[in-house]
């Protein structure tokens, strides 16, 4: 690992001013659960790190009936997993977090750091996108809100400006007749996911007709992939087993996976068909009761 200068910010304001000063050579450090490995492998070598992990003002989980959920960017994975509020109102997030890396990583790693590292095998992004998440980016110049689905641009790349900090994640209140289901395929729970998917289904009240759907996947494209054509097939239709199967096939055709040590591209596409089918079915059943 190369040497770097180190600053520990004592407020968000200070962090913003530091990063605007060092934006060309600096990186923001949160939990560092991805960053430290990248530094050690010399994949990146910033000359300065701005440590924001200690900022209490970005470590919170708050819910309001009208505006929904706000999660501070420095909330740890473990805090999200264990939050009774999230377990009650956004249970899919808690379930998804249970399988993010290992307990040790979840204890120190933050949700904001995870999103900013933009690893396409990450699980939080697809679930948050399926739940309709927005993120708040702040800098010394001001702030902006962006839909999370527009945040990622390529492998490990986002639209975040070098002087911006991801401050919080916002979710709308849980919608009626809607359920979001997360499913993954991995050889061991805490291991690298071969494929995972988060599916949101909204049904017409008291019927089998799908009003809205969103299918998001990790590890099958350079970014969290929204398979729009597959979701379109479901909208306005009665969700039969045949239709769900066809939509899952469409989802597979929309993916662009790569071959790596964990699975071949061809295998990943096959898994997508099975996983998406199961996730739609489960989300559909839950949505009818929601």
């Amino acid at each position: 690992m190369k040497d770097f200068e180190y600053f520990s910010a004592s407020s968000l304001q200070e962090a913003c001013s530091l990063i605007s000063q060092y934006k060309d050579v600096g990186k923001v450090l949160a939990g560092g659960q991805s960053l430290i490995t990248l530094l050690r492998q010399k994949l990146i070598s910033p000359t300065c790190l701005i440590d924001i992990k200690g900022l209490k003002e970005l470590d919170f989980i708050e819910f309001d009936k009208k505006s929904g959920l706000r999660i501070g960017a420095l909330t740890t994975h473990r805090a999200i997993e264990k939050s009774p509020l999230i377990q009650e109102k956004y249970n899919v997030l808690s379930e998804m977090e249970k399988s993010v890396a290992s307990v040790q990583t979840r204890n120190w790693g933050t949700i904001g750091g995870n999103l900013c590292s933009a690893d396409p095998i990450g699980d939080p992004a697809p679930s948050l996108i399926a739940l309709g998440a927005k993120i708040k980016l702040v800098s010394a110049k001001g702030e902006r809100a962006v839909a999370l689905e527009e945040f990622f641009t390529d492998y490990f790349t986002t639209i975040i400006e070098p002087d911006e900090i991801l401050a919080e994640i916002q979710l709308p209140p849980p919608a009626a007749n809607t359920a979001v289901e997360y499913m993954k395929f991995a050889t061991i729970e805490a291991g690298i996911k071969i494929v995972s998917t988060s599916v949101a289904v909204t049904v017409e009240a008291g019927s089998d007709v799908c009003k809205d759907a969103k299918i998001v996947m990790s590890a099958v494209a350079p970014i969290p992939l929204i398979t729009k054509k597959a979701a379109e097939m479901l909208k306005g239709k009665k969700l039969t087993d045949d239709l769900i199967e066809e939509a899952a096939k469409m989802a597979a055709s929309e993916t662009d996976p790569t071959t790596d040590v964990h699975a071949s591209a061809e295998y990943r596409k096959e898994i997508v068909k099975v996983l998406v089918k199961r996730a739609i079915k489960k989300a559909f059943e839950k949505a009818k009761k929601a």
Binding site: M1, K2, D3, F4, E5, Y6, S8, L29, G32, Q33, I36, T37, L39, R40, Q41, T47, L49, D51, K53, G54, R78, K98, A101, S102, V103, Q104, T105, N107, W108, I188, E189, A190
Partner: protein, 163 residues
């Protein structure tokens, strides 16, 4: 560029330390190289295997992936801190011996620290809780059954103790 050193204060196994370090030092390097606490093991160095697990403010973390600067002002417990001062092993350490929960022993410090944190957090963990918690620690020689049995033994002893 040689960055200037920074001073941090950290409590390790109850002892306060003031150390001057380069910002790039990891918690693992701090423990092993600066403080001579070599019970914590270095293995994969990419946040995978859990051999370097220690407890920071009651949470198990992988010391290879935490910067030492980030434990400034915090309390760290390593495997050296599990036994009491007079050398009496913790209940979990005794259970590890009883159940032969290791073979070569290289992953044991990490496993002990993960499970110690879990047993502090959960009064009465289920088998599923234990298995989930074990996922962060890899063993390359003997396996996990004896390890699981050792933890269950501690839970059992606790239940009997509280009767």
């Amino acid at each position: 560029m040689d960055s200037s050193k920074k001073t941090i204060n950290v409590k390790v196994n109850g002892e306060p330390y003031e150390v001057s370090i380069k910002p790039k030092m990891t918690l693992l390097q701090l423990l092993r190289n600066e403080l001579g606490l070599t019970g914590t093991k270095q293995a994969c160095m990419d946040n995978s295997c859990g051999a370097c697990t220690v407890i920071v403010n009651k949470m198990a973390v992988k010391a290879c992936s935490v910067l030492a600067m980030q434990v400034n002002g915090k309390e760290v417990t390593t495997v050296e801190g599990l036994a009491s001062k007079d050398g009496k092993l913790s209940i979990l350490q005794e259970a590890f011996l009883e159940h032969s929960a290791f073979q070569c022993g290289f992953c044991s410090p990490g496993k002990l620290m993960s499970s110690t944190a879990m047993l502090e957090e959960l009064e009465n963990p289920t088998e599923e809780d234990i298995r989930r918690d074990m996922e962060g620690n890899l063993c390359r020689c003997t396996g996990y059954v004896q390890y699981l049995e050792a933890i269950k033994e501690v839970v059992r002893q606790r239940k009997e103790g509280s009767k």
